[in-house]
Amino acid sequence: MEPGPIAIFFAAIFTSNILLVNFLGMCSFLSISRELKASVGLGLAVTFVLTTTSLIAYLLNQYVLVPLEMEHLRYIVFIVVIAAFVQLVEIVIERISPVLYVNLGIFLPLITVNCAILGSLLFLVIREYDLWQSLAFGAGSGLGWMLAIVALAGIRQRMKYSKVPAALEGPGIALIITGLMSLAFVGFSGMIPIQ
């Protein structure tokens, strides 16, 4: 029985969170999560880009790559599309809304090389989702990633007042906290099984 779009949406946020379960998007996750405000901005940017590119990836895969038997070139096509799309969005946002640009636009260049985007697109193609499932998965993955980074940023802000062993400061302790968060999310597993 195939899970429907709604199930996939919630599964992508909770049971198979792309960061806490699939380790996608760790680089920017560790560096940006020092600042709560920036984390929210980056999280929103990731959610937006993921939702839109999942649609583009689905269409490209369905109507271009599969008919031409070019599935093995998927990586190249996807990465080019992501990079170009992000650049376009940045240019447009900067023009139409300065407010949006400050809160979201300046994070866009960081996204091009964020594995969360490419990873999710590859997942949805490999799992052969249909259009609605793809959209739900893209949106859910983005929100799940945002949930994780905002939660970590919140914790790290409090960490400033804690005594952490010197060698563990920064990334080390951030990883341990992420592990604990991941542990909590394991509690959701089994509710909705998607791979």
Binding site: E35, A38, V81, A84, L88, I91, V92, E94, P98
Partner: protein
């Protein structure tokens, strides 16, 4: 097989070309902000007309106005502050970490992050207009250690540069194989301040540095070089207190300049220079420091090696610079300190100085971002 391969390559190329065209169009029609006017200090003759779309730092540099910046506009040093009174838009998260609450209230911004999209009204300290651009020729380029070179620059236009010991200049790395635009990097002057026609810089190789790569691998004796300056407030204070100089690596440069100044002006103060290095390969100017010790009766040079090897036959101070400093016999509470080097070393040494009771306001430092 061949046809299918051709089709595949064609499709990828077509997708790429389509997207490239889209970006090009967007660049031309959406991101075109036309000509913007930057009003400086409300003085008409100082105002500029620039092509919008870039960052303020670059726009000003194109018009020969050099805001000091150590990182070259990557938003990692926080030096390129200017007051943007109108048209700068809201504060960006990328600059927030570098600005204090007071600065934010006074509309201080990082000029490398503010974009020129409309007319701007900004305020720049008057002394920045005194900063001049200099052209010169690369004179001697001497290897001081395995990763540090002394670069002598013979000034040609203007022919002299008047600076205070401890100040730095910004060297321009021109367009070369690695970069398609000139960039600026800050280097402290290490030569004698009375020699105004030739200045020397001590440059340490940064593995991926655009500027250091140019100096180490491309620059030849006789080449044209450009710089602007002098910048900085890291100078000897006119007091009679005991001095602690602390440096690592190319942080030696401004201290060397200050020692020349002390010799020239016969400043006979008690002074100790702690220099941190890993092995004896990282030491330089030993002869000269010995000469300074002879010329300045109360000056002592204390090089410390953190990892001396057997072949170093090292008999001097050993250990981390912080520990050597910690063990030093000084009236810390009465002395003043001058530190130059990497942020990590400086922060660690400041901690040591503070625990020994040196007041914060008598600790002067120049951090290499």
């Amino acid at each position: 097989m061949i046809t299918s391969l051709a089709i595949q390559v064609g499709v990828v190329a077509a997708i790429g070309a389509l997207l490239a065209a889209l970006i090009e169009l967007a660049d031309r029609f959406i991101a075109n902000y036309g000509e913007c006017r930057i009003t400086i200090n409300d003085e008409e003759e100082r105002s500029l007309n620039v092509q919008g779309g870039g960052h303020l730092l670059g726009a000003l540099a194109e018009n020969k106005l050099f805001i000091p910046s150590a990182c070259g506009g990557r938003g990692s040093c926080g030096l390129c502050k200017v007051k943007v009174l109108e048209g700068g838009g809201p504060l960006l998260p990328t600059e927030a970490p570098y600005l204090s609450a007071t600065e934010r209230k006074n509309n201080v911004r990082l000029s490398c992050q503010v974009k020129v999209r409309n007319n701007l009204r900004i305020e720049i300290p008057q002394e920045l207009f005194a900063i001049k651009r200099y052209a010169g020729r690369a004179g001697k380029i001497i290897d001081q250690t395995h990763d540090m070179k002394q670069l002598d620059i013979e000034l040609t236009e203007p022919e002299t540069l008047d600076f205070k010991a401890g100040q730095y200049v910004q060297l321009t790395a021109p367009e070369y194989a690695k970069s398609d635009q000139p960039i600026y990097r800050a280097y402290s002057i290490c030569s004698d301040p009375t020699d105004e026609s030739t200045i020397s810089l001590l440059i340490r190789r940064v593995p991926d540095g655009i500027c250091t790569t140019w100096v180490f691998d491309y620059l030849k004796v006789g080449d044209q070089v450009e710089l602007n300056g002098p910048h900085g407030e890291f100078c000897l204070q006119p007091t009679a207190r005991e001095i602690l100089f602390i440096a690592g690596g190319s942080g030696l440069a401004p201290i060397r300049s200050m020692l020349f100044q002390m010799r020239n002006e016969k400043i006979d103060r008690k002074a100790t220079f702690y220099f941190g290095a890993q092995t004896s390969d990282d030491l330089c100017y030993l002869e000269q420091m010995a000469q300074f010790e002879r010329d300045l009766p109360q000056f002592k040079f204390v090089p410390a090696l953190s990892m001396p090897r057997d072949e170093d036959r090292w008999e001097g101070a050993q250990g981390l610079i912080t520990d050597v400093l910690d063990a030093g016999e000084h009236e810390f509470a009465q002395a003043e300190a001058y530190l130059c080097g990497s942020p990590g070393m400086i922060d660690a040494c400041i901690k040591v100085l503070l625990t020994h009771g040196m007041p914060q306001e008598r600790i002067f430092y120049d951090k290499f971002a």
